[in-house]
Amino acid sequence: MERELTLKKIEGLQTIETAARSLNMSKQTTLNLLSKLKKEGYVTTTGGGRQKRIYKISLKKQRSRDPGMFDILNKYSPKMKLAPWFDHQVHGKYGPEEALIDAIKTKSFRVILVSLRLFSHIRDWKKVYRLAKENDCWQQVGALYEVARKYFRVKSMIERYIPKKKFKKKIFLLERYKTKEKDFYSIEKKWNVTIPFRKGDLLKTEL
């Protein structure tokens, strides 16, 4: 109970001085307390060294996390970043190949747009192909790969995965979003997938 009251007094971002003032304690006593709370998981710190140390204090325990889709997308997208609307964590092997498939499944404009950057970091095309087939989204992967190729340097897709026949099923990356950019007509025709982006959208993801 006492711990809860202490945490409530200093909840949020604090420096050692502001925390000491809020608790009406000396700097050293506050430091000892914050160090104890940090061990218990209520406090995380940033900065230190040349920078001023900032303490993030929460009533809830701040757990260490494993990276998920949003972390991978933000890691590989140099300019455009996403604000996650839920906490996605993957406990196990997770890289750009898996994140690409998850991004397509979200059906979110921004997430799919940012995922184009992943094509520069895909090493295992065999894995992408297998995952895409399992999730029934190979057409979308192929179309997005061709769009990404027009704007960024990407790792080439293995030739045997390039389709020789036409796809019968028409796929909408996003419902009701048709291809309006002339440059993408050929990609749409080849993969039978509508591309919801305009050139301006892609420029936003560039360096």
């Binding site: 998920g68 839920f86 996605h88 993957v90 406990h91 997770y94």
Partner: protein, 214 residues
């Protein structure tokens, strides 16, 4: 007792035993651990969308040494008799309560499916996806399961959360009531009445619940 790290290891182990991808929803003390509200729990409450998913998970549990156990002692008699009561599996101090489609009379609402707090994927050959429900849904489900300690958990959530959306909570209660959970409003109203001793809840929310009953 199951700690947060035990839980992560348990789910990782389950994912290794699965024979296909399984999706489930965490809503009990285990969900509270994901949030950081508490450090350990007696029971892991999971809801599955279909019986097949639950059966796959049960097979994995059995391989890990868990055995089915009786619901008496844990749930009240009327809850045990309910059609949608859970299957319970125990090993030592740890317990799994596995629901399918419904938690007693509570349906997995569209809002519960859409507005998730977190998604934890445990990837091995197959994927165990654990969706963590929003705090407002956790409070509602704790109000309807009415086990020992459930009220204390509700108190913990509401006290530790700066922004608890009571309007969102009431909307969910009313939706559940309108979709066949006759006890939703009564259980929620009872819980809110008790909770008012500890936290401030605006009167308008209770009024909205009474209005739904008319």
């Amino acid at each position: 007792m199951i700690t947060y790290h035990d839980q992560i290891e348990l789910f990782t182990l389950m994912s290794k035993q699965l024979k296909r991808d399984v999706v489930c929803y965490a809503f009990g003390g285990n969900a509270m651990m994901f949030y950081g509200y508490k450090d350990e729990t007696k029971d892991v409450d999971l809801l599955f969308e279909d019986e097949k998913g639950r059966q796959d998970f049960i097979e994995a549990l059995k391989e890990a040494g868990y055995k089915e156990t009786s619901l008496f002692k844990i749930y009240t008699e009327d809850k045990v008799k309910e059609k949608n009561a859970p299957l319970m599996f125990k090993r030592g101090e740890g317990r799994f309560d596995l629901f399918v489609k419904k938690i007693f009379r509570t349906v997995l609402s569209p809002k519960m499916k859409e507005d998730l707090e977190a998604v934890h994927d445990f990837k091995d050959k197959f994927n165990l996806k654990v969706n963590v429900l929003k705090k407002e849904h956790l409070v509602f489900l704790k109000a309807v399961t009415s086990r020992q300690n459930d009220f204390d958990d509700i108190k913990t959530i509401v006290k530790k959360e700066k922004h608890f959306d009571w309007q969102y909570f009431v909307d969910e209660v009313v939706w559940q009531y309108q979709n066949g959970n006759d006890w939703a409003v009564l259980d929620a109203e009872k819980m809110m009445k008790e909770l008012k001793e500890y936290v401030f809840i605006e009167e308008k929310y209770s009024k909205q619940l009474y209005a739904a009953l008319k």
